[in-house]
Symmetry: C2
């Protein structure tokens, strides 16, 4: 099946499966099943088997999935069997937290560029990265072929930053700013919005 | 239909609809349709109508949805027509960013308590809130009847904090720490994991 024919909702679940497999592997487990994964994730085992069937045959009835090989396969499918460079724009408290976040390694991403427009921040070092001026961002990202970025600026600055990122050749943007971005159809945007998650939980509280 | 019979995946989409309606309203629009919402959100209009039909009749064929009344209805359904107190535990860079985040207001939540275990941070003021000692957390949250919390501690501290929160009566936890939490079935947990979102996007890049 062509990549473009697989529903976004299915693709959206693959990283969840990959994360669960990684946890099982870290606990020393070698084999799992759609039933075990389903129980852990609150997804039906039939759904998991159907999702994976878009990409071929994994595991056999009765023997389950080999965790290492299914993980490798999912990484290949998701294009995270490589390491993507990531630019981070807006080095406030949140940007600083993400720059120091250890959770990107071994999952396909590495923050390689930090940008801010505040002259007092430009030139500062976080980890082993220097904060660069957002003015020069387009040229730097083009030269270094960076295709993934995270926006952690205030809402008012985010659209202008997104426009620059698109001009620079970035094709995937994770936006933490509380504003909907307008980008060309060829560019993917996802949003981190803590309120969505909170709302999904309090529905169940009286 | 009883609340518990409605699939989690449907509940998960309601906050997305509510956010889209809020944006339209802020732009001065009064009426929308499942087609317009669907186009904006990349969800089929049939799916949107089906999701909403779990909760009754909204809008009429041909006349669309009144944005204000559908918003009010979704707020009521999601229990965000009130303001939930939220405790924030772990006041590092990320906790500080969330404490200063303007996006909670008018969406059903207000951060009312900040906790940390670092003696140098305890007593500091962020906004109009004092950072309290995590040692006294259980008693404070019980007394103030706080049912919602966000964990922004390092991974190693998160499970112990979650245990304390559960003891304190918290029933909904948004976890930013990169670790799966173990909590009783009566407690809801959601995770903020930027890598999931990045992985969902680079699937589409070559």
């Amino acid at each position: 099946m062509a990549r473009s024919d697989i529903p976004d909702i299915v693709i959206g679940r693959l990283p969840i499966y990959l994360r669960a497999l990684t946890h099982l592997r870290q606990e020393g487990q070698e084999i799992t099943s759609s039933h075990e994964l389903g129980r852990q994730l609150g997804i039906s085992s039939a759904q998991i088997r159907k999702d994976l069937s878009h990409f071929g045959e994994f595991g056999k009835q009765g023997t389950g999935y080999n965790i290492a090989s299914l993980s490798a396969e999912l990484q290949r499918i998701l294009h995270v069997d490589r390491e993507w460079k990531v630019a981070l724009v807006g080095i406030g408290d949140l940007g600083r937290a993400l720059a120091n976040y250890g959770g990107f390694a071994h999952r396909g991403f590495r923050i390689t560029h930090l940008f801010d427009r505040d002259p007092n921040k430009i030139g500062q070092i976080i980890g082993n990265l220097e904060i660069l001026a957002v003015d020069g961002m387009r040229a730097v990202l083009r030269a270094d072929r960076v295709e993934v970025a995270m926006i952690t600026t205030p809402a008012g600055a985010a659209q202008a930053v997104a426009d620059e990122l698109v001009e620079a050749g970035v094709r995937a943007i994770l936006n933490y700013a509380p504003i909907a971005l307008s980008v060309p159809a060829s560019v993917r945007v996802q949003y981190i919005d803590p309120v969505l998650h909170l709302q999904r939980m309090v529905y169940y509280l009286e």
